[in-house]
């Protein structure tokens, strides 16, 4: 169905090719998973395989792409390609054009030249397979990240194409929701669809993947049947990382002083209770993993630590001070918060200036030394003069951490710090955190990755429906 023959591609105004001599073949009814570090060219590959690169992007192109028996140059336009290929891009929000879920899917159906009866039938079929029935009247901004990703998938399915190309369709999802997507895709494969899947989570898709392709620096470094490809240690470390190797200091913190104490905390968004009666104490030097499904209240809880949210009821005491009596700026000295999407913070012209921003805001002494050491810790010294948005996702994630670390807060909170990273990049991030813990920082991470929680944290707090349902450190 898709043949890439010796495809090389260089984006306009760049020298380094994004794709280099890619040869890949995807037969009908098969599923190929492409994995690799961030910035390796996975998205470029998905654009090449869908023909978008040839039709929509400038730059230098070599080699040939054949889609459904026809060379990509023979398709007249993207709309022509859209008759054969369905693409789900990585940014789910950008793929919601209309204002309700049902409209989104219906609109995609209405342009296929089908009869009204067939459209209704397909609509209800797709709503059912993607479990979107209850959400049909919701608007995009009222959906969670995972729900949006499902809508984007559903709208693409509505096209009824046999070839599906998916770029990280589960990046924002917890384990449960990822499983749901995996089940949907497996069904589609069983129906005879051809699937090109760009993913990091091989573990959850292994049942349906016929071939695994590893992409590094724009080149395919391994491809074949998953079990063969995974014999290689390097690939194994990338696809199925072993976090048990990252064990640092453990069990040191049980009797140290408490740095955060949450007392009977509740928080309401309007009529919805997001947190109900949370009490916990976090001690200096602990490495805490906060786990739980999307929407269980994890992010809401940590936003109370630096008063981005104020309690509806109860108290949050940080280093002996009630947050009610502190300003956000003052709390920023004690609690650093790294958000899930690092792109929400970058605005400076260089990586170094980006880190300097927080340092200047807090008026930290010996600013330059602090900035250089944060750059070094994050492994970004060589990138210090680059524009932050040119970095790969993994580097941007580390820059986000460096920005907060440079402000020298005693407590560092990270929301999903390993999203979109491969095994090696995730371990790199965890190692940075472990090093910070050794220096005496208290680390709190929100994560969907059970392996990371179990192997790297001293304590796991599990949340569900706004409550703490288990806490390994409370004994």
């Amino acid at each position: 169905m898709i043949e890439l023959n010796n495809v090389s591609y260089t984006y306009p105004h760049t020298v380094q090719p994004a794709l280099h001599r890619i040869t890949l073949s995807l037969e009908k009814g098969r599923c190929v998973m492409v994995t690799g570090p961030s910035g390796a060219g996975k998205t470029s590959l998905s654009l090449a395989a869908s023909g978008i690169l040839h039709h929509e992007y400038g730059g230098k192109k070599e080699g040939s792409v054949v889609i459904d028996g026809k060379d990509v140059t023979q398709y007249r336009s993207l709309s022509d390609l859209a008759q054969n290929v369905g693409v789900v891009f990585d940014d789910a929000e950008a793929q919601m054009i209309f204002t309700t879920v049902e409209e989104e899917i219906l609109s995609a159906l209405e342009h296929r030249g089908l009869s009204a009866a067939v459209i209704e039938e397909r609509l209800s079929g797709i709503m059912k397979t993607t479990y979107l029935e209850e959400l049909k009247d919701r608007s995009p901004h009222n959906l969670s990240g995972g729900q949006k990703q499902r809508v984007a998938l559903a709208a693409t399915l509505a096209l009824g194409n046999d070839i599906l190309i998916l770029d990280e369709p589960t990046s924002e999802l917890d384990e449960h929701a990822t499983k749901r997507i995996a089940e949907i895709l497996k069904d589609l494969k069983d129906q005879g669809k051809t699937i090109l899947l760009i993913e990091h989570k091989f573990g959850q898709f292994h049942e349906m993947v016929d071939a695994l392709v590893v992409l590094e620096n724009g080149e395919i470094t391994a491809q074949g049947i998953p079990s063969d490809v995974l014999k290689d240690d390097h690939v194994r470390g990338m696809v199925l990382p072993d976090f048990s190797a990252v064990k640092g200091i453990a069990g040191t913190a049980t009797d140290s002083e408490p740095v955060i104490s949450v007392q009977n905390l509740t928080h309401n968004y309007g009529n919805v209770q997001a947190l109900s009666g949370i009490s916990l104490t976090i001690r200096k030097g602990e490495f805490v993993a906060l786990v739980g499904e999307n929407g269980s209240g994890k992010t809401t809880l940590v936003k109370h630590f630096n008063r981005l949210l104020s309690p509806t009821g109860g108290d949050v005491i940080v280093r002996g001070k009630n947050t009610k009596d502190c300003s956000i700026a003052a709390l920023a000295c004690d609690v650093g918060l790294v958000f899930q999407n690092p792109d929400h913070m970058f605005f400076a012209d260089t990586v170094r200036e980006e880190i300097a921003y927080g340092v200047k805001n807090l008026g930290i002494e010996h600013g330059n030394e602090v900035i250089e050491s944060a750059l070094g810790d994050a492994g970004l010294t060589e990138s210090a003069d680059l524009y932050p948005r040119w970095l790969s996702r993994g580097e941007r994630q580390r820059l986000g951490i460096a920005c907060v670390v440079a402000m020298q807060p005693g407590i560092i909170v990270l929301d999903e710090p390993t999203t979109g990273l491969d095994g090696y990049e995730a371990i790199l991030v965890i190692n940075i955190l472990k090093k910070l813990q050794e220096k005496g920082h208290t680390i709190i991470i929100i994560t969907h990755n059970r392996d990371i929680a179990e192997h790297c944290a001293d304590r796991i707090i599990t949340m569900e429906g706004g409550k703490v349902i288990s806490d390994t450190g409370s004994a």
Binding site: E56, D90, L109, I119, N306, G336
Partner: protein
């Protein structure tokens, strides 16, 4: 968060009307309020909009933007008083008692009247468009606009501009929080406002630009621009109530013309 200009899902009177009827409604209301200069008539039109909103159970949503409208109105009135002095002087912004600068900027009956007329027109227009957008599903809007003969590119542009308002609001909020967590403290007042622009606006615009690329590709890859004839489903046709409303509007138009001819409004 108050959502600006978004469709509100409800099953009420305006929602059940055909998009054509509602388009006719906003066109007629717009023309009426633009031509009319009578204070009483315009006040009645504002009240009529509120009554329509209440009947369609959209009053609370309509009044969410009241604060903005009041501020805008105050600015309108102030500008017209300063720029279009006309007729009897009611008083002065700077009382005459103050030496040298006293007696400047007279508040005239003419200026005040024009200001209030403009404000009332502005309110009628805003309310009418808000009612239209809150009660019409964007997909119906697209279909209606397609039938009228507008090019699909322009229609999508219009829809997307509306659709992304709340997304940008939420994103702006997140960026603000991310910067607060980095000790962002722009200070208050005018200087603070200016200093606060870069750390919020740059990520917001950069992310939006990136997003627009994916959005554009999505539109193409969903085949919205194939030029194929669209098969509309669940298309609503004009119902009795539509004819009723259209008839009522025709009556209102006749009455309006009579009033105009007799120079009452």
């Amino acid at each position: 968060m108050a959502e600006i200009l978004q469709y509100v899902h409800k099953d009420a009177f305006l929602h059940r009307l055909h998009p054509y009827t509602k388009i006719a409604f906003i066109i007629i209301v717009s023309i009426m309020c633009i031509i009319a200069t009578d204070l009483v008539f315009l006040t009645l039109m504002v009240l009529a909009m509120l009554a329509v909103a209440a009947y369609s159970r959209l009053l609370a949503e309509l009044l969410q933007q009241l604060k903005l409208i009041i501020v805008m109105s105050a600015i309108f009135i102030l500008i017209t008083i300063i720029t279009i002095p006309n007729g009897e002087i009611l008083g002065y912004f700077i009382p005459q008692g103050i030496p040298v600068i006293g007696g400047f900027i007279p508040v005239t009956v003419g200026g005040l009247t024009i200001g209030i007329v403009l404000t009332l027109r502005f309110m009628v227009l805003i309310f009418a468009f808000q009612l239209f957008l809150m009660s019409t599903q964007p997909r119906d809007l697209v279909n209606a606009m397609e039938k009228i003969g507008l090019p699909i590119d322009y229609i999508l542009m219009f829809i997307i501009a509306l659709r992304f308002i709340p997304t940008l609001q939420i994103e702006g909020q997140r960026i603000h929080e991310a910067q607060l967590a980095r000790g962002f403290n722009p200070g208050t007042g005018f200087i603070g406002k200016i200093r606060s622009v870069a750390p919020i606006a740059i990520p917001l615009v950069s992310n939006a630009l990136l997003r627009s690329n994916v959005l554009g590709l999505t539109i193409d890859m969903r085949g919205y621009r194939t030029g194929k004839k669209t098969q509309h489903v669940r298309e609503s046709t004009l119902q009795h109530r539509d004819y009723g409303v259209l008839f009522a509007m025709a009556l209102a138009c006749t009455g309006y013309i009579v009033l105009l001819m007799n120079q009452i409004i």
